[in-house]
């Protein structure tokens, strides 16, 4: 199973590895037998050299379709669920789509594409397609504003962090993720399961946290990833008590010390790592020492070809795991002249460690004092009764903006303690350099929304 060069996903699937499966809340499909099956009704040969939009609502069918189409089509664009028709139309044009693979064919008949192929649960295939090319993997960026951008990856690049670790790192793993696997963070886990010879348990958007955890436990999940927001919801749910994964991973948002400590207490037998990755820059690095931020010596070239630097406070990455380009008529340049991607993630050196402080565009200006909402949230989250928080800007006639913090407290926190907790949170913020005078207002709320990409929803001020 260890190959120096990836040609297509099917090379990692074969009858020699018994007992592998991929499941969702309804079904389980054997990965061991998958090479003899098709979820495209035997029409894979019609996709040879085509540009394919993978618009499959069902994650399980989508996963299997990916393993079929990879190595056959020219390119495939992974479509997360919930895109509107205007977005889809622009994707079709920008990526020169001529085939749509979908589990809901009817609405696509008028989409103006050459072919619509129905996808369904796998059945025995009569013929087999061979790997004939390195299919381009197109993905959508997870940005919260504007139309998503399309980035072009190769499977080699997407799997770079996985192959660098080697298959021995996580033997016999059953992987799960709170992400949808059509998004970068989720796809990483799907690829880890397929390439690493393991099994995979998919998320289900409509499922409660408690039901999801019960299913992960029942399926024997050993390795699991999600955003800090996903994990805060798990910690809040109280449902994690009997779940004991070996490896817990965070990515996609800043992992602050509070969430890392909370996970370490809840999963005492797990190794807990936080990874830095983005759809554009790929997987930068993973940190396994249980502390927020990352060692300063990661800046510079690394053994596996990922090179990082900090310019004007933002993290820049040049990497073989990065996307190759943006795709589309008005696609901007992905990298600078030296091949570095500006991640827009702002970092600050404190002692021997860099800490993520927020997004470049997210700064709140309070009468000239500039703060990142994430810094304030990190300070608030250190309070023992706080489960989750969101700092946001509110206009002020005096300073332009002030910061309002919405705070979710642990279940069972008595309302009578609110004023004390509020004063303690103000006190904590005062002791944090850089944000000592904010927030202006603290509100206690029942819940905070998380986007489909697993990130804290930040309402535009």
């Amino acid at each position: 199973m260890c190959r120096s060069e990836i040609s297509a996903l099917r090379e990692y699937l074969g009858p020699e590895m018994k007992g592998r499966s991929i499941s969702d809340a309804q079904q389980s499909v054997s990965l061991t037998d998958i090479l003899g099956e098709t979820c495209l009704g035997g029409r894979l040969h019609e996709l040879v050299g085509r540009s394919v939009l993978m618009a499959v609502e069902d994650q399980l069918i989508s996963a299997i379709a990916m393993t079929e189409v990879d190595g056959v089509a020219w390119r495939m664009l992974l479509c997360p669920p919930g895109l509107n028709s205007a977005e889809v139309q622009s994707l079709i044009e920008d990526a020169d789509i001529d085939v749509v693979v979908t589990d809901q064919p009817a609405p696509w008949m008028d989409a103006g594409v050459y072919l619509v192929v129905a996808a369904r649960l796998p059945e025995t295939a009569l013929t087999k397609e061979k790997t004939t090319r390195a299919t381009e993997w197109l993905m959508l960026t997870s940005g919260t504003s504007g139309l998503p951008k399309i980035v072009r990856h190769t499977l080699d690049g997407l799997a770079g962090a996985i192959t660098a670790e080697g298959p021995a790192r996580h033997p016999n793993a059953t992987w799960a993720t709170f992400y949808d696997i059509r998004r970068y963070g989720g796809l990483q886990i799907f690829l880890r399961a397929v390439i690493g010879g393991g099994s995979m348990v998919l998320s289900d958007a409509g499922e409660s946290v408690a039901d999801h955890i019960a299913r992960l436990r029942a399926r024997g999940v050993t390795h699991i990833s999600g955003t800090p927001s996903h994990w805060r919801k798990v910690l809040m749910s109280g449902a994690a008590a009997n779940f004991s994964p070996r490896y817990v991973r965070l990515s996609g948002e800043i992992a602050d010390q509070a969430v890392l400590d909370g996970l370490a207490r809840t999963f005492p037998h797990a190794s807990i790592g936080h990874a830095y990755a983005s759809t554009e820059a790929g997987v930068g690095f993973a940190v396994d020492d249980g502390r927020e931020g990352f060692p300063a010596d990661l800046i510079g070239p690394s053994r596996d070809g990922v090179e990082m630097k900090v310019v004007d406070g933002s993290l820049r990455i040049r990497s073989p795991r990065a996307a190759r380009a943006y795709i589309g008529a008005e696609a901007p340049q992905l990298t600078d002249a030296d091949g570095f991607i500006d991640t827009g993630d702002m970092v600050e050196l404190r002692g021997e460690r860099y800490h993520f402080v927020g997004r470049r565009g997210g700064i709140i200006n309070i009468g000239g004092l500039k703060v990142h909402p994430e810094e304030i949230e990190s300070a608030i989250n250190r309070h023992g009764c706080v489960r989750m928080s969101r700092a946001r800007s509110r206009r002020s006639p005096i300073t332009g903006s002030v910061v309002v913090a919405d705070v979710v407290l642990a279940d069972g926190t008595a309302a009578g303690r609110h004023e004390t907790i509020r004063a303690e949170i103000f006190g904590q913020c005062k002791n944090s350099p850089g944000i000592h005078k904010v927030p202006a207002v603290i509100r206690f709320v029942e819940r905070l929304d998380v986007t489909a990409a697993g990130k804290l929803a930040r309402a535009e001020a």
Binding site: I366, G367, S396, I398, V402, A440
Partner: protein
């Protein structure tokens, strides 16, 4: 509780948080003598908006920011709720 009392309570709370020693609050005390900086006033206006449901300095374009404590209180009292 009167608007005046609520404003004074909020000011005392913020003074405590911002480590400001407030002089006795009287109508003719100049706001710049309270020890509050612009951020402290911004916080006061934000909290009073939550508490009283009004922000007199945003609803009307022409309202000048008050210069004394008494004018500040009247600015809130004069806004129709």
């Amino acid at each position: 509780m009167s608007v005046r009392v609520r404003i004074f309570e909020a000011m005392q709370q913020i003074a405590e948080e911002q480590k400001v020693v407030l002089p006795p609050l009287e109508d003719d005390l100049l706001l710049h003598e309270t020890g509050f900086d612009s951020l402290a006033f911004a916080i006061l206006v934000a909290r009073l908006e939550d508490d009283l449901g009004i922000d007199p300095f945003t609803v009307a374009d022409a309202v000048a920011f008050p210069s004394t404590v008494g004018e500040l209180v009247r600015a809130y009292e004069n806004v129709p709720v």
